[in-house]
């Protein structure tokens, strides 16, 4: 008798769990809509009494967000471009062969994947200072963050290339195509979706890059939005509705892209993340 109801009961529980888990996001949006006295109400209101979106344009202008956000986009685009151009070829070769050299290459990539940015930032900063790259701080950050993002990209895209049948490429070679031609006309188009998902993931994660930008970029006009957020965030901050509005403006594009592409992203991650 109870059997048919079980799936719906589970669905209810699942929705409740998701609601609890996503509460911080909800709280960000709700707080940003509250007035500056309502945020300190006790007990707090779980739905704003007088929703006021006016804080958004105010924060946008006062915190110089257009500059910060465009810097974030520039840095993320640079990181994604370098990662995709260099990483795709590397992943293709690592997926195509199986010998001891490939094992060594893979081992190197896996080892580089685990290096914490906080370990790398000190030598990178001193080294960039010596070669003069600190005069081009955004370029320096792009290079450093691309080296951080590439190993993960290679591991994921390699799994995509593994799923492209070898026979198709071999058929093209038999038909007189060159290796370069087969790569660009057969293999790349077949792996396009996987590469695209991984590129989007790379873009998303470098859009939030913080540690390298904070350490390397001193000029506020070149800093990304993450550093801009840290500027008015501290143990004693009280301006919570502005902070939450800033955070909301910053993450809403990422969240929207994620929700639209959710199915593909999850599929791309699960195919490669454990391999």
């Amino acid at each position: 008798m109870t059997r048919p109801y079980t799936p719906w009961l589970l669905l209810l529980v699942a929705l409740a769990l998701a609601a609890v888990y996503l509460f911080p996001l909800y709280w960000m949006y709700v707080t940003s809509l509250k007035g500056s006295s309502e945020i300190f109400a006790n007990p707090p209101t779980f739905w704003p009494v007088a929703p006021d979106p006016g804080v958004y344009p105010a924060v946008w202008a006062r915190r110089n967000m257009p500059v910060f956000l465009s810097n974030s986009v520039i840095i993320a685009a640079g990181v994604t471009a370098i990662t995709v151009i260099l990483g795709t070829g590397c992943a293709y070769v690592l997926a195509r062969y199986r010998n001891v050299w490939i094992d060594i290459g893979l081992f190197c990539v896996l080892m580089l994947q685990v290096l914490p940015a906080s370990v790398m930032v000190t030598p990178l900063f001193v080294g960039f200072n010596q070669v003069g790259l600190l005069s081009y701080p955004r370029t320096a950050v792009v290079l450093a963050a691309a080296a951080k993002a590439m190993p993960f990209f290679v591991v994921l895209v390699r799994a995509t290339f593994m799923s492209v049948p070898r026979e198709l490429e071999e058929a093209a070679l038999v038909d007189g195509n060159s290796r370069v031609g087969a790569f660009f006309t057969i293999v790349l188009p077949l792996a396009r979706n996987g590469i695209l998902v991984c590129a989007i993931l790379t873009f998303m994660s470098s859009f939030g890059e913080y540690i390298y930008s904070k350490s390397i970029i001193q000029d506020p006009n070149l800093q990304p939005a993450s550093v801009g957020l840290s500027g008015f965030l501290g143990p004693n901050s009280t301006d919570w509705n502005s902070i939450m509005a800033y955070a909301a403006i910053y993450v809403t594009p990422i969240l929207a892209a994620f929700v639209i592409l959710q199915r593909r992203i999850v599929a791309g991650l699960t195919s490669g993340a454990l391999k």
Binding site: T6, P7, L11, A14, L17, Y21, W27, M28, F40, P44, L86, Y92, L94, D103, G105, L106, C108, L110, L112, Q113, V114, L115, P116, S118, V119, M120, T122, P123, F125, V126, G127, L143, K148, S178, R179, M204, S205, F207, Y210, K214, S215, S226, L229, L233, P235, W240, I243, M244, A247, V251, I254, L255, V259, Q262, R263, V266, T270, A273, L274, K275
Partner: protein, 300 residues
């Protein structure tokens, strides 16, 4: 010369070019800095020698100085608490959720996918949101815990030395939970259904099935998830500046953030490099476990 270009276009040269470009880039921007870091930890680095490569060699003086710092053992203890607290929380909750979402019900995959938003959000934003939730006087977590009767008085998560590291751990568990759950779900989905059916026919209850089928079948997945969790936790940086800045009095400081503070707030690059070399040894250990537990899958 034309043979060279032919090989590049149509032979092994093409592969070498593709993999070589990426590896050269990674060697220049990840391998070389790593070695440079070790070199710096044995040198005297100050404002006068910052611009040169061969600085006065000081042997193990930097290491001795770092260990003698009054906060060294506190930071070590905090790092261990942070790593084990975060990993345990992420793994246990992630496993529980993965088991739950392995049940068949409408929308299971979609709702599970929604959990992953925590993982794509910038760490600093996650830190900012939790900083507000965990605020002492007006934070919503205190209100919820008080109304549930779990605590009587407000807990000052970020400024109480007893809780500050736990504030970061809570935020980090939230951040990493979804990724753990996703990887464990993949492992769960790979277990053949008929094993469970056979066990059920033989009269094994749910707990026995979990203990004798799920856990043994998941062994390599669990190894990979735990080592990825360790690596991810050691990589965590953004939450510290957003939540506590290592304070109060270093009670929530961990190795990664301390190293950054030494380099970029005190401009003591030698000590910063020394701490990060120490941390790298820890990461190396984690990655060896990770590579070992995924090795057969890498080749596959």
């Amino acid at each position: 010369m034309s043979r060279f270009f032919n090989a590049l276009r149509d032979g092994v040269g093409f592969d070498v070019l593709l993999v070589g470009a990426a590896l050269l880039f990674l060697l220049a921007l990840a391998g070389a800095p790593l070695l440079y870091n070790v070199l710096m930890s044995f040198q005297q680095v100050d404002m006068f020698t910052l611009g040169v490569l061969f600085r006065p060699f000081v042997g193990f003086d930097n290491y001795v100085a770092v260990v003698r710092q009054p906060e060294f053992w506190l930071v070590t203890r905090n790092t261990l608490i942070f790593v084990f607290g975060s990993m345990t929380g992420q793994f246990v909750l992630g496993f529980a959720l993965a088991l739950f979402f392995a049940q068949k019900f409408p929308g299971a995959a979609t709702i599970r996918g929604l959990f992953l938003v925590s993982w794509v959000m910038p760490g600093l934003v996650v830190g900012a949101i939790w900083s507000w939730i965990l605020a002492g006087d007006f934070g919503v977590l205190n209100v919820i815990l008080k109304s549930l009767g779990i605590i009587q008085a407000n807990v000052f998560w970020k400024s109480d030395p007893n809780f500050s590291i736990w504030a970061v751990i809570i935020a980090n568990i939230w951040l990493g939970l979804a990724f753990n759950m996703l990887l464990l779900s993949v492992g769960l989905a790979a277990i053949p259904r008929d094993l469970y059916e056979a066990a059920e026919l033989d009269g094994a209850n749910a707990f026995q099935r979990f203990w004798t089928i799920t856990l043994p079948m998941m062994r390599s997945t669990i190894g990979a998830v735990l080592s990825l969790g360790l690596i991810g936790t050691l990589q965590q940086f953004d939450l510290f500046p957003a939540l506590t800045e290592g304070g109060p009095a270093n009670t929530s400081n961990v190795a990664g953030y301390w190293s950054w503070q030494l380099s970029f707030q005190l401009y003591d690059f030698a000590k910063g490099a020394t701490v990060s070399v120490m941390m790298f040894v820890l990461v190396l250990f984690a990655s060896i476990v990770y590579v070992r537990s995924t090795r057969h899958e890498v080749r596959g």
